[in-house]
């Protein structure tokens, strides 16, 4: 079993992928970001995603009957289009949809409206690229 915690202002999904990058299992993290995943013993790629955030990715090895814990990680807000870089086009999406509610990926603080608060979150991570190393 794998346990851990992923912090983001939005719902987080954590998945385990095998050597061929095929999804083995995934789970929606709890509201506080904690999660647990069960899979057969082996080495996996673990990936955390949240809409509008850079994903985080690491490697983990599960043993039969054992529990592994991966360090807590905070996802970086601002990758609205999911291309693994927080760039000018992500910022433009906020500007084009100002005071609207969609696309949901642009509502980075999950308060139901796309505005300067979301832009400020993006600005903190401007030019960051992903996936963030998680180990």
């Amino acid at each position: 079993m794998l346990t851990g915690q992923v912090l983001a202002g939005k719902p987080v999904t954590v998945g385990l992928y095998d050597a061929t990058n095929t999804l083995v299992t995934s789970v929606a993290a709890n509201a506080n970001g904690t999660f647990s995943l069960t899979a057969p013993a082996g080495t996996y790629t673990v990936r955390a995603t949240a809409s509008g955030f850079l994903s985080a990715q690491g490697s983990t090895t599960l043993t039969s009957g054992g529990t592994s814990t991966i360090p807590t990680i905070t996802l970086l807000a601002g990758d609205l289009d999911g291309n693994n870089v927080i760039d000018q086009l992500d910022a433009l999406t906020i500007g084009m949809n100002y005071n609207a509610a969609s696309p949901a990926a642009a509502d980075l603080n999950n308060d139901g409206v796309i505005n300067v608060l979301d832009l400020e979150l993006l600005a903190q991570n401007y030019r960051e690229t992903g996936p963030t190393v998680w180990q």
């Binding site: 906020i94 100002y98 969609s102 696309p103 642009a106 300067v116 401007y126």
Partner: protein, 327 residues
């Protein structure tokens, strides 16, 4: 024979239409400057231009400059409705992003980027990247494909002769609107809107000139900052936190901000320290200095130093207070 001639004419006509459509759909971006010879201390105005047959909802550019020769001052879009998105800048690269909630037609200047010439030198401005963007069906910004980048380089000759410091000119752009959109406006005709804009710009310019010749109370007033009335003095709008909705006109500088009553602007916010930050004026610019609390400008931390403030900058103090600077 007649049918062959008719067919040929039809083909020619079709070709002409295709060629015409092709010519109209050409999108391009290029860089120009108002002039290429300057003296030290003068303002260099670089203009990002574009033509596009497709109305756009945003554009971006990155202009490489030599920070030893030029210091960026500000940038605005000249397209009505196109708002600047305040994003962190890095030395040597003027990074501009502008967006509109509605499609805008562009044919000419997109944005003006102003620099101050620092010393005698030969230097270049280089349009390193640029894009025109539309809002796709999912609501995301998407670059228009096949936009040609025209003239990328502008060579500048800066003379070492120093002129007296120039004051920034009145700019007719805007930053991201921070208020909810107004109710739909009546459908005024274009000339009426242009007339209104001209009057507004004229009034702003006149007020700005008054400000420059020293009739402003900025340097002489001993009063506290006031809730803002229509004014050309710098302002702070509080957009988030316990004091959201308050607007201040900075009619006394330096202006201290913090939780203690001794501050010119007192913010009753548990995440703000007694004396959190101050705004002061220097060399015709406004600066924000952090005094020990958590202070960010456009998401970039300010630690025990001062950073120049530009109109539209988003300042965060502590964890919740979000202020927008206007000048």
């Amino acid at each position: 024979m007649k049918s062959v001639t008719a067919l040929s004419l039809a083909i020619l006509l079709a070709l002409a239409i295709v060629v015409n459509v092709s010519a109209q759909s050409t999108e391009s971006i290029w860089l120009t400057a108002n002039t290429t010879a300057y003296k030290t201390g003068e303002t260099v105005i670089a203009v990002v231009n574009a033509t596009s047959a497709t109305p756009i909802q945003g554009f971006t550019f990155q202009i490489r400059y030599d920070p030893a020769c030029l210091r960026p001052v500000n940038a605005v879009s000249t397209i009505p409705g196109m708002n600047a998105l305040p994003l962190p800048q890095i030395s040597g690269l003027a990074d501009g992003s502008y967006a509109s909630t509605t499609p805008q037609t562009v044919n000419g200047a997109l944005a003006e980027v102003r620099f101050t010439a620092l010393k005698g030198c030969q230097t270049n401005l280089t349009l390193e990247s640029a894009a025109l963007a539309v809002r796709n069906a999912e609501g995301f910004a998407a670059p228009l494909p096949s936009v040609a980048i025209g003239e990328k380089n502008v060579a500048l000759m800066i003379d070492k002769e120093v002129v007296s410091a120039q004051s920034p000119e009145t700019l007719a752009g805007s930053v991201l609107p921070l208020e909810p959109p107004a109710a739909s406006a009546p459908n005024y005709s274009g000339w009426l809107i242009a007339l209104l804009l001209a009057v507004i710009v004229g009034v702003m310019y006149g007020a700005f000139k008054l400000f420059q010749i020293g009739t402003s109370p900025v340097s002489t007033s001993t009063s506290r900052p006031t809730f803002s009335e229509p004014s050309q003095l710098p302002t702070l709008q509080i957009k988030h936190g316990p004091n959201a909705g308050k607007n201040f006109t900075l009619n006394k500088l330096p202006c201290f901000i913090g939780r203690d009553p001794i501050n010119e602007i007192r913010l009753d916010d548990p995440h703000i320290i007694g004396q959190h930050a101050k705004i002061f004026e220097k060399d015709n610019g406004y600066y924000l200095m952090d005094l020990g609390g958590e202070t960010f400008i456009n998401g970039q931390v300010v630690r025990r130093g001062s950073t120049i403030l530009k109109s539209g900058d988003v300042v965060r103090l502590g964890k919740s207070a979000l202020l927008v600077f206007g000048s």
